[in-house]
Symmetry: C2
Subunit: 370 residues, 2 copies
């Protein structure tokens, strides 16, 4: 308890707290009760097979000791689980276990579990309560803002809702077993939150990269707190992505296209958007931003072990075409988030596709320091 | 235009108008533009094969003449279309036709089309605009309040959202070809809105039953206006069904159970809830309400051609069990809506299952006037 950080995502009557610290799983029962989760109605924990092995038995036991009625559903880990057929399966589980309108869905896992379980909570009986217990660094991003969704065979995250959790419990202990590549990819969104909002935090990431990569609890707790804080500040001002919230998409215009073209697996999401952020920084300088935007962006990403060069075998035409099929393509224009300084970005709707194509080509030549 | 009635559903920034009148389809282009539907982004009209034959070509042509880009998707008529696989199909159609965040889904049809198309609009890109053009009397009910949903193999309407339309266009001309049985079943919800809120309107329905059954445009327009008004008044006070909105479920506790046990087709929704309303009125008298609650309820429903006796071959145990699996069964108790006078109801959470069982038995003996 002592060292836990608490942050409030300020959304009026939908406000909720995020707790970040060590040993928080042990307090799950108390925290859920404190934040209005009913003990009279059953809970459904949704998790994946990898996380289930490590944490599910313990969480079930802890919640039962606290007086909750607990059911669980385990999905296969991986993006393929974000489908309507999994949604149907989980709704079936919820019905069979007697979940009612006062029940809650608890997401124990990373982004896939959070997105799927969140959409179950958003749509079951037209919306029941939702609790997030993220077990990856990347999930700090999806734990703020209430975006939940499943995929369609033709597009990612295209069927979803805005559904805010009642609370988020971020137990740093669950991050200690993350594979190294996922640690780095998760740090990509952490750094992104600095790049769009907070130059000082970018410098801190640069200075503390080694501690972060070593999963030092104090450094990691601070970084997640800062990352969540930036996102919370943005989301509080624009819950439904009418305008400002778009700045969170720094690096995503190119990044999403890379993921689509590379096929899932070659590039993790965090890796793709790291390359995308270098692209956005290159674009920024071309549009008149100071040179250090590019230099600092590239350096801090490389420091936390992320790729900064676009794999040269990916076809530029395919990348451009994928960009046109994104949700960010609207009424005929691409929305591009462009830095104007370190820690500050702008929404630009008039970047020409010709210029974006040049940047994509340049990214394939990006120098990588030894 | 001249004779159209307009009603506003008052939900703060989600408020929207309902237009009721003859010839409104002809004005669709003007009305949509007037209420903020974009001509730059494509529309998707969702309808069923029966309605498509009569009205789709004309609506498409009218909207195109007004400068909209229009795509259409036709689903098979009937409850089976309210499924996640139809949702996936319609989202695929939306993607293929290039619908973006500024696009709208237009539901042209009855309750099934409205519920399914509404959930497509609620979940596509986490929510785009929605327009309803109801073509049945029953749909007056679903056109107010924003409840949209699909079915799960284990339960009706269990996966859904609250998603308000931008506007509702109720063209009385489209009702003229409704089969007689559907006219009567649709009037069941109209009468219900009187029974929960407006004794004078109940008397008006009793006096004007013949005109309503003959689809007299003036009478029908007034009845739909009144029905929508009552629902709008209730929904405005409780958009997300925390409390008051439950009164709209008069007749539904028994009615839903009857539908589930009879199997879809034997009893239409409106017929099942007519029997359920007679049951609620019987229960009311047992709990101390004046005798005329029962007498008036039964008479007005019979006057508009609805069944008031529960088919005796339906098994009482099966009906009771179905009631326990309803969304209205919560934290161990059944929520029952009970009249206290004609035009006034109460929410009662302490009706014993033994008493409900007695009422179900009595409903099988209900006398039917010649």
């Amino acid at each position: 308890m002592g060292g836990a950080r608490k942050l409030t995502v300020d959304l009026g009557e939908r406000s909720y707290p995020i707790y970040i610290g060590e040993g928080l799983l042990d307090e799950a029962g108390v925290r859920l009760a404190e934040h209005g989760i009913s003990k009279k109605s059953p809970l459904l924990i949704v998790t994946d097979n990898r996380v289930a092995e490590r944490h599910l038995g313990r969480l079930e036991a802890l919640l039962r000791e606290s007086g909750f009625t607990v059911a669980s559903a385990v999905i296969p880990s991986g993006e393929a689980s974000k489908s309507l057929s999994r949604l149907e399966e989980l709704v079936g589980a919820a019905l069979e276990r007697g979940l009612d309108r006062k029940s809650a869905v608890v997401a124990l896992g990373g982004g896939v579990v959070g997105d799927l379980a969140g959409f179950v909570a958003a749509s079951y009986m037209r919306g029941i309560k939702f609790v997030q217990i993220p077990t990856t660094i990347l999930a700090h991003d999806s734990s703020v803002g209430g975006k939940v969704a499943v995929n369609h065979p033709l597009a990612k995250n295209i069927i979803g809702a805005f559904h805010q959790p009642e609370l988020v419990l971020y137990d740093l202990d669950t991050l200690q077993t993350l594979p190294e590549r996922e640690v780095k990819a998760g740090l990509s969104e952490v750094v992104k939150h600095g790049l769009i909002w907070d130059a000082e935090f970018v410098a801190w990431c640069d200075a503390n990269a080694e501690k972060l990569l070593a999963l030092d609890p104090e450094a990691l707790g601070y970084a997640l707190y800062k990352g969540c804080s930036v996102k919370a500040a943005v989301v509080s001002k624009d819950e439904r992505e009418n305008d400002l919230r778009a700045i969170l998409n720094l690096g995503h215009t190119i990044g999403h296209a890379l993921e689509a073209v590379a096929g899932y697996g070659e590039l993790l999401h965090g890796e793709a958007i790291a390359i995308g952020m270098v692209g956005a920084a290159r674009l920024a300088v071309r549009l008149g931003a100071p040179e250090d935007v590019y230099r600092v962006t590239k350096r801090v990403l490389a420091r936390v072990g992320l790729p900064v060069r676009l794999p040269s075998h990916l076809d530029t035409d395919a990348i451009m075409s994928a960009m046109m099929h994104d949700k960010k393509f609207q009424e005929g224009a691409i929305t591009f988030i462009v830095p104007v300084a370190v820690g500050k970005v702008e929404i630009n709707k008039s970047v020409s596709t010709a210029l974006i194509r040049e940047i994509v080509e340049e990214l394939k030549q990006e120098a990588v320091e030894a």
